[in-house]
Amino acid sequence: MYKSIIYKEWIKIRWAVVVSFVALIITLLYVQLEIRHYIELMTAFTNWLYIIQRKMLYYEIFKYLPLIIGTVISMLQFVPEMSKNRMRLSYHLPISEKKLLLSMASVGFFFLLITYVILVTGLILTSYIYYPTEIVLSLLITILPWLLGGIAIYFLTSTIILEPSWTYRIVLIIIAIAFTRLLFMESGYNEYQYSIWKYAIPVVFFPLMIFFPGHRFRKGIN
């Protein structure tokens, strides 16, 4: 049963997964080239100084990538289900709606996490060649809100798409944008160091959010 669900979700997102992996690897290579270019252009010392004092984020190109991947995966999974009422097929399957929704979302979330693993390992490996631990550590702290933003937007987008009524959708879109943008407001490194866990607490509960639109669909509430 779950095998089937994974199978169907995989069919919907497989191209996006491949494209994200390729895009990630290309971007990682690009960042590495860029670092080398900077070091040659301005010396390694100045490059470090720019990073430390001017708070240049050499990995800023990745800032919105989790957000984009999260949104795209969610859309590829749930837009085909909701268009032409196809979700009726899924909701009629002999499995409870909650298990169904949760397992569908788990598949997308899992692939999002894999992209995170690639991104984070790629960045650590690239960075360790050129930079000391302090800079690598600040990178990890700095990208944390971006990664959290990707997870948040994945579940928010899923909730928005699964919601059957447009008025609710619009409310949820506004709320989703308003919340997610809070995680992308940094102007330098480590700025979310002490508060990121507070932002993570609500996000931990976001997966449960997809049940309510499912319930509304099932009961025909518009």
Binding site: Y7, I11, N85, R88, L89, H92, P94
Partner: protein
């Protein structure tokens, strides 16, 4: 006799708009039911409630003994649904969609699916989104057959199908239910097709049920009487005897469940000349229109 579907005082409103008003209906096991109703009579709402995608405002809608809006997964496995527009997972291929569904149903009958689908002469890797509506209807029907459900609810199965696929659909369905023990509830705008297969007709009027009877009984007891228009006929109106009156130029059609003797008696009382009264034979479609009116 066990009732597969049971509606009791089913009422539904959208906001303040009443769509269904105290609908009562029981559907026995093992028969094929055609739900007939003009647009706007609450047919879609009823089907949505039956399929479990709408919780009624009040009243009861039991399907296989459970409230339709909270069917257990095991009960859902016993119900095959054909959604309006032959909804399918378009992004899957013939093979993929079968593989997907098969894991959900322990009694999956793969051969039923492929029996139907093979007749399309398409490759197994053909995507459903690249199929015609008729081809897709075969896939959907094949999946329902493979599920081997006790109850099938087929909503507007004929939508978008050309006559060839329509009759193919009916043929397969007929064959499938001939095993017995299957209950089918279907809707369509193509009544002559339905006439070929349904045992019972359920006719919906405004917000309520007009008639629920066997097709045979309906055709036997529902009559159309034709006579010349006169001042007296203009005074006639629908009542307990006459279900519907239709006046076209100089001809008046009276639709009624009464036999010709009763009608003659009735007309005499109403001072209508019965000299030219004659009974017109009715098909199901004409009978349906006669009962519900054209408008």
């Amino acid at each position: 006799m066990e009732n597969v579907i049971e509606l009791r005082n089913l009422t539904h409103r959208y906001g303040n708009k009443l769509v269904l008003n105290n609908l009562n209906l029981s559907v026995e096991k093992g028969r094929i039911f055609g739900v007939l109703g003009k647009n706007g009579m609450g047919k879609t709402t009823t089907i949505n409630i039956l399929m479990g995608f709408l919780r009624p405002t009040s009243g009861v809608c039991k399907v296989l003994g459970e409230d339709s809006h909270k069917l257990k997964p095991t009960t859902r496995a016993k119900i095959g649904l054909l959604h309006e527009g032959h909804i399918a997972y378009d992004f899957m291929t013939i093979k993929q969609v079968e593989k997907f569904y098969s894991n959900f149903f322990p009694a999956w009958k793969r051969e039923y699916y492929y029996e139907l689908v093979n007749k399309l002469h398409l490759s197994d890797n053909h995507r459903i989104s690249n199929m015609s509506c008729g081809q897709r209807s075969q896939i959907v029907l094949g999946l329902i057959f493979a599920q081997d459900p006790e109850l099938m609810i087929l909503d507007d199965y004929s939508m978008g199908l050309d006559p060839g696929y329509r009759s193919l659909f009916i043929d397969y369905l007929k064959e499938f239910v001939s095993v017995g023990n299957k209950t089918v509830l279907m809707t369509s705008h193509i009544i002559p097709d339905m006439e070929k297969i349904i045992d019972d007709a359920i006719i919906m009027g405004h917000q309520k049920l007009l008639l629920h009877t066997s097709l045979k009984n309906f055709k036997e007891t529902f009559h159309c009487y034709q006579l010349k228009r006169s001042n007296a006929t203009d005074n006639l109106h629908a009542d307990n005897t006459i279900s519907n009156i239709e006046t076209i130029k100089n001809i008046v059609n009276l639709y009624s469940f009464k036999d010709s003797e009763q009608i003659k008696k009735y007309l005499k009382i109403q001072n209508v000349s019965i000299n030219e009264l004659k009974e017109i034979p009715l098909g199901l479609e004409e009978a349906f229109i006669g009962l519900t009116g054209k408008y």
